[in-house]
């Protein structure tokens, strides 16, 4: 009962502080503090409710328990991280985005291909591509190669569609200007059209960054060596070791956010000229 009162008190306190902070003028400090306070409040409420209602750790472990488990099994978590993120997701991400980028430039060169591939690409980008996972696991074996293949297939079409769209973003006036400079195809591509396409390319890279992690983890449900985040999650659920599952989720969340943040950071330095990056 004490814990429930504690949870309710924390909730009221957090909400009150945030309301006060939100009434202040919007600065960098308040913009950062408010979501952090909100998140901490959520964790405190979670802890309070789990202890107050005595929820079994098999259903929902308390945050303190997850933290303890995290600290105790960093070795396993690191091994899974290397297997899934570095070997599976990252290599697939680089391969898939690189291939999509090159093919997008090729497609852009021929208008016929562009008009044919763009609708098909848009269609495929909306499909449940993750269903390819069992087939690719069958083709490439259980180790990280098949996970990288799933990631390649998942990130390819969003990246392709975005890049092709970006390459056609420069206006007729700008292209005419390049022509008056007697710039050839390659000079126009490198100096005008690729820079103009960067916001679209980074949009594709951001979408792909979240897809890559999902693809690598879900592909492991269809077969994997005895390490990897997806493998650990599915076997630990079977053993009812939910604290370990949550520790893996924490790793996945941190890695996912860091990956996305890194791409966004590079975007800000590369496309500093774009309107969406100003006033920040």
């Amino acid at each position: 009962m004490i814990w429930l009162v504690f949870a309710f008190g924390i909730w009221a306190l957090g909400w009150w502080v945030n309301t006060r902070l939100a009434a202040l003028p919007r600065t960098r400090a308040t913009g950062l503090a408010i979501p952090v306070i909100f998140g901490l409040t959520l964790i405190a409420i979670w802890e309070g409710v789990v202890r107050g209602l005595e929820i079994s750790p098999v259903l929902l472990p308390a945050p303190s328990m997850i933290a303890a488990r995290f600290a105790a099994s960093t070795g396993i978590l690191w091994e899974d991280f290397v297997q899934t993120v570095i070997k599976g997701a990252l290599s697939g991400y680089v391969l898939g985005c690189g291939a999509a980028f090159l093919i997008a430039i090729l497609v852009d060169r021929f208008d016929f291909l562009r008009r044919g591939l763009l609708p098909v690409g848009n269609f495929v980008a909306a499909l449940p591509v993750i269903g390819m996972a069992p087939i690719l696991v069958m083709w490439f074996g259980f180790d990280w190669q098949s996970k990288a293949a799933v990631v390649v297939v998942m990130v390819f079409f969003p990246m392709l569609v975005n890049t092709v769209q970006g390459l056609s973003d420069s206006s007729a006036m700008q292209r005419d200007l390049m022509r008056t400079y007697a710039a050839g195809y390659w000079a126009t591509l490198l100096k005008l059209r690729l820079p103009a396409a960067m916001p679209f390319i980074f949009n594709g890279l951001k979408i792909a960054s979240t897809l890559a992690l999902i693809g690598a983890i879900v592909a492991e449900f269809f077969g994997s060596p005895i390490r990897g985040m997806g493998f650990r999650i599915s076997t630990s659920v079977g053993q009812l070791a939910l604290d370990l599952v949550w520790a893996e989720i924490v790793v996945a969340a941190v890695v996912g956010s860091a990956f996305y943040g890194l791409v966004a950071l590079i975007e800000r330095t590369v496309t500093f000229w774009h309107p969406s990056q100003r006033n920040q």
Partner: protein, 287 residues
């Protein structure tokens, strides 16, 4: 529109061509293996014929998948456990329930975010952060835990669909509800409009184009959620279960037919929303 028909058809034909050639290439080792065991000599013709008609090929040819789909949709009774229509219906019902819940939650959150400054500043960053978490990865846990609490069947799968589909709706609706410019808001104020009138007559109607665009993304995400949600339930029913069962028993044709079915389902659902979008926007005079 018309000028893109020929290129699209060409690309689709190209895909089929690559598919057939890849089927020969991928299935040839097995065909050679079988031939050396029986002592046959394979000519090019018999090799191609064999690679396109194997029982468990590495890559089934399109006509094999087509035949399987025809057999499991038209020739089987809908109530049969082997009917793809039955499995599609299981997945579809979870998709639609999750989509409905997600859309409702998304719109409610968006209204809260637009009208409450505290909510805007505290919830919005977490809504964005929630999507960098690979939620599909915890799908098995959600299913198992909800099962342990006594909730089973449709709802756990729908929860995963809901989690995936609420995000595009929140982002789109927040943008849409904020899309009326200062001039329009001032105009409403000169008419002495109450806040609720402002919402129903100005903000909500002007958010419709944004809503429909988000709904399309949400629907596709919701289907993916339902399919992945079916993986850990032990392959009982649904397209995801067909995928899993197929991968356990090496039934590649079954996997591909489930995959094509899922693609058709996704395309049909998105097209349906597109239709609703066109009708609604036309009646509102926006398109």
């Amino acid at each position: 529109m018309r000028q893109s028909v020929v290129p699209v058809l060409t690309v689709v034909c190209g895909i089929f061509l690559v598919w057939y050639v890849a089927a020969i290439w991928l299935n040839a080792p097995w065909a050679y293996d079988k031939a050396t065991r029986t002592g046959d000599v394979l000519t090019t013709q018999t090799l191609i014929a064999d690679t396109w008609s194997q029982e468990k090929p590495k890559l089934p040819a399109p006509h094999q998948v087509g035949a399987e789909i025809w057999e499991t949709t038209v020739e089987k009774k809908i109530t049969s456990k082997r009917s793809l229509i039955y499995h599609s219906w299981v997945t579809l019902s979870a998709t639609l329930l999750g989509f409905g819940l997600g859309t409702g939650l998304g719109i409610a959150l968006a209204v809260g975010i637009v009208y409450n400054r505290t909510m805007d500043m505290s919830v919005m960053p977490w809504v964005i952060a929630s999507q960098t978490i690979p939620i599909l990865a915890i799908a098995p846990m959600i299913i198992v835990v909800l099962n342990a609490v006594g909730i089973s069947g449709l709802l756990p799968k729908a929860m995963i669909s809901m989690y995936l589909s609420f995000f595009p709706v929140v982002v789109g609706m927040v943008k849409g509800l904020r899309s009326p410019d200062a001039m329009q808001l001032d105009q409403m104020r000169t008419w002495n409009a109450s806040p609720s009138q402002m919402f129903w007559r100005l903000r909500l109607p002007s958010s419709m184009p944004y809503l429909f665009t988000s709904l399309k993304i949400a629907m596709a995400a919701s289907l993916v959620g339902a399919i992945v949600g079916e993986l850990p339930t032990g392959a009982v029913a649904g397209l995801g279960a067909r995928l899993l069962a197929g991968s356990y028993y090496g039934q590649t044709i079954q996997i591909w037919s489930a995959l094509i079915m899922a693609a058709v389902l996704a395309a049909a659902l998105v097209a349906l929303i597109g239709l609703a979008q066109r009708v609604t926007l036309k009646r509102m005079g926006m398109a």
